[in-house]
């Protein structure tokens, strides 16, 4: 009955970092969606629902993980991965799931949500721009920066 529920759950799970918290966030988002149904203008239902999940997740983060929400200005100041540290594609392909999950969890929230919406949820750039409320150019640069951080993280030896 709710085919987008898995998508909602995956986004909430990566934004909150915890599966149990994700359930609370998705439940809250569904209640919000239910209340706000009259405001739905038609069109892309999945993107609309994911937008509501994202709002609910941000509310949860503000309450429970305020440190995770760095401002966009701070984000621009973050150093990027240095060229030369980049591993071979074959090494990335072999990375195990636990390591990948740790690397994603370590991403700043705006990078993480862009990556998850694209590579886990499978939204296209235009949909991601709509859900996150930023221009497509910002989606592209966040996605590239998120991926380059993951690539570097998956390439170095674990401590």
């Amino acid at each position: 009955m709710l085919p987008h529920l898995d998508d909602c759950y995956r986004l909430a799970r990566w934004l909150t970092g915890e599966r149990a918290d994700a359930e609370d966030v998705v439940q809250e988002a569904c209640v919000d969606a239910f209340r706000g149904i009259a405001g739905f203008a038609g069109g892309n239902a999945r993107a609309w629902v994911l937008t509501i999940v994202r709002h609910a997740a941000y509310r949860w983060l503000r309450k429970n993980r305020p440190a995770a929400l760095v401002s966009v200005v701070d984000l621009d100041a973050l150093p990027d991965a240095q060229p030369g540290q980049t591993p071979e594609a074959a090494l990335i392909a072999k990375a195990d799931a636990a390591r990948l999950e740790r690397a994603i969890a370590a991403l700043p929230v705006p990078f993480r949500e862009t990556l998850v919406l694209r590579d886990v949820n499978g939204l296209d750039y235009r949909e991601i721009a709509g859900v996150t409320g930023v221009p497509i150019g910002t989606v592209m640069s966040r996605l590239a920066r998120a991926r380059s951080r993951l690539i570097v993280a998956l390439g170095v030896d674990e401590p």
Binding site: P3, D6, Y9, Q27, V31, I37, G42, T86, L143, R147
Partner: protein, 244 residues
Amino acid sequence: MTDNLLVHAYVDGELDPAHALELEGTIADDAALAAERDRVQALRHLIRDRLSHERSPAKLLGRIESAVGLRRERSQPSWGMMAAAAVLAAVVASGSTWLTLRSQPPNTTAEMIVASHLRALMAPQPTDVSSSDRHAVKPWFSGRIPQAPRVVDLTSEGFPLVGGRIDVIDRIPVPTLVYRHRQHLISLIAIPAAGANAPERQTIAGYNVVDWSDGGIRYWAVSDLGAGDLDNFAKAFREASPDR
């Protein structure tokens, strides 16, 4: 835009065919860029294989149904709640289902024409072929639909031609000419139909619609222009000779 961002867009299938081909050429000459493409592809596959199949826990659905009132132990849900819950299920299940629930489908030609005009205003551009030259617009229709419409130049009357597009009215593709008057666009839709009738005006959803028949074609002009201006447009179009 840097090539690096373009590599990501390429891997994500976001480049149009021309730019994708161009980038493939660039990658072929640049080993560093090729390695980046391979890394991004490897990462995408890794995430897709490992993370994108996670399902929501079965108990979550039950929690949500309770929270929004689909399941209530004590009291019967009110009709209003049940209706709202049904609409929520519909919207989450499919956007198109919701659209059909939200309003009755347009049933008259005039309503379909207003819907097409509105759709065109919301699109990135209101025309499929953009030209103020009627000798460019008319041939564009030939080959796409059985009968190219009469295209007249009304620039001197204050209605320059913007271009044309094809609308589908009642499942039939029909030619639509787009004219402009000041900042307002006018869609003029030509549908083959027998009979002859003088212009009649009506208002649908705040848009003025004028229709008339002429030479086996029923014309529909729709715009947010004032009624008087739209009447003038219809008059100018009817009186214009196509050979001017």
